[in-house]
């Protein structure tokens, strides 16, 4: 009898322990699982990145450092220092200017304030290069709703740019701002975003953004070319570009991310773009993320982009002063591009620095190939039997390398 009572007691005790374990697990999940959307401030972290772009005769490299830090439970600050060291001998430079080297520095800082289910953000971005000064301010508010399954964000940004043109000083041979050239450009952007948890494995992001620009929107260095039979060999003459003074664009995108049963993630994105210059662009991107071997995370992505030409773009205009607006910027040409990306991230701990929660070493490499449909390599004109308008189409092959270390503290 006593033995039976003892057995019953043990069973109740063990059941109690099991319940406690279950409750503890639930409690831990409730504490650890935080929605990955608004309503949560970003982690305290620092990233130090080295970037290098090489392609089309241009090499751009430099550092970027990001610091994100929560000051209180509901207030966080962020700061980013970014630099480009540019060595350019691109096809545009070879055609109408001289190879150059320059440095661009950008500082950006902002804050995020969390109040209940709302997150308020604001910040400024200031970029400076010898012939371009740009300042941007941005504001946004996000609201969690429907049991934190949905996050709606509204954003606004305003930019003020000062555009200069560098010329070579005859006496010193150094590049200096042309005192007769100073233009300005204003930009405004309005964005609306929706994040929606669809199932316990799927999340959807929808974004819409309208941007308006006013002012000097072209490049003071790039030129158009028009047919000129009086020029022997080449058969064309260069002239200044004439851009419209305004531009308005709309872009809408949807991104779906899905958690696979064996701890991996797959994502798909589509973006539709159109503007008042007649450009319509389509972007499709697929991504895959696979953790492996305990400390590693591997990424792979493929991105396809396609656009038609702006209404005032031409590779070779028929004559001088052909129309009110004329441009030959490659970014306004018809083309399609393919970008393949791979990345690896190794997570590690530093025992000698207990204040560091987590660290990772990361390397990302992307290969971008742009095939232009109506932008020709004008450097061939007058060579090997090529005449203006019959040169081979231009293709850009570029490699993009990023190596960075991240520290969470």
């Amino acid at each position: 009898m006593q033995l039976t009572v003892l057995r019953k007691g043990i069973r109740i005790f063990v059941a109690g322990l099991a319940l406690q374990r279950h409750a503890r697990t639930l409690l831990a999940l409730c504490l650890c699982v935080t929605p990955a959307l608004a309503g949560v401030l970003p982690d305290d972290r620092t990233d130090a990145l080295y970037h290098r772009y090489q392609g089309g005769g241009i090499t751009i490299q430099g550092p970027s450092v990001l610091i994100q830090k929560k000051i209180t439970d509901n207030f966080a600050l962020n700061y980013n220092f970014y630099q480009d060291y540019i060595t350019s001998a691109s096809i545009d430079v070879k055609l109408s200017a001289s190879p150059y080297k320059e440095k661009r520095t950008q500082h950006s800082g902002g804050f995020q304030y969390l109040h209940g289910k709302s997150t308020y953000s604001a910040g400024i971005i200031s970029g400076s290069e010898p012939d371009y000064k740009a300042n941007t301010s941005y504001y946004s508010v996000s609201q969690d709703m429907f049991g934190d399954l949905t996050t709606v964000s509204l954003g606004y940004r305003r930019g003020w740019d000062n555009v200069y043109r560098d010329i070579k000083d005859v006496a010193t041979g150094r590049l200096e701002n042309d005192p007769t050239f100073h233009q300005q450009a204003d930009h405004r952007g309005y964005s609306l975003a929706l994040s929606q948890i669809l199932t316990r494995n799927a999340i959807l992001n929808l974004n819409y953004e309208a941007i308006t620009d006013q002012g000097y929107l072209g490049s003071p260095y790039r030129k158009i070319r028009y047919s000129d039979p009086t020029v022997p060999g080449k058969g064309f003459t260069l002239a200044d570009q004439i851009y419209p003074g305004t531009r308005t664009s709309s872009a809408a995108s949807g991104t779906l991310k899905y958690f696979l049963p064996y701890r991996a993630a797959v994502s798909g994105q589509y973006r539709y773009f159109r503007d008042t210059w007649g450009i319509v662009g389509h972007t499709v991107e697929l991504g895959y993320t696979q953790p492996a071997l305990g400390h590693w995370i591997f990424d792979g992505s493929v991105r396809f982009y396609r656009q038609n030409a702006a209404s005032f773009y031409s590779d070779l205009f028929p004559r001088a002063n052909y129309s009110n607006f004329m441009a030959r910027d490659r970014e306004l040409a018809a083309f399609h591009s393919l970008t393949l990306g791979v990345g690896a991230s190794y997570e590690f701990h530093v025992p000698s620095a207990p204040w560091i929660n987590k660290s990772s070493l990361n390397i990302h490499y992307s290969r971008m190939i742009i095939d232009y449909s109506d932008f020709r390599n004008a450097l061939y004109a007058g060579q090997d039997g090529f005449t203006a308008g019959n040169e081979p189409l231009y293709q850009l092959n570029a490699s993009i390398l990023q190596a960075f270390v991240s520290i969470w503290f």
Binding site: S90, S250, F259
Partner: protein, 101 residues
């Protein structure tokens, strides 16, 4: 004559019945509309129940499900692409002006 009376009677009966049935139908329709309206109003007052419970969202806390896992890298790549394409915007990021090399 009797046939005629019967026919008239049938006609009167048949002409009375559609009015009654029509009124009944309208009453039923009104009741349905009122019921739907009240239901919608009550539904609007009650909070929408999340169909994915907080304890079922552990996958969204996994870094691999983040849309912005490496912000410094994402911002850089976005800038590289934007300065070479005509399209811009709707990426969720905010970049500064130019650097259009």
């Amino acid at each position: 004559m009797a046939d005629l009376q019967e026919i008239i009677g049938r006609g009167l009966r048949s002409s009375a019945n559609p009015v009654k049935s029509c009124a009944k139908r309208m009453t039923s329709a009104r009741m349905v509309l009122v019921a739907v309206g009240v239901g919608l109003l009550l539904g609007g007052c009650s909070p929408i129940q999340p169909w994915v419970k907080p304890y079922e969202r552990e996958h969204f806390a996994d870094p691999i499900m983040s849309f912005n896992r490496d912000p410094v890298s994402d911002t850089y790549l976005e800038h590289v692409l934007e300065s070479r394409e005509g399209a811009r915007g709707a990426t969720g990021g905010i970049g500064g002006g130019c650097g259009c090399n």
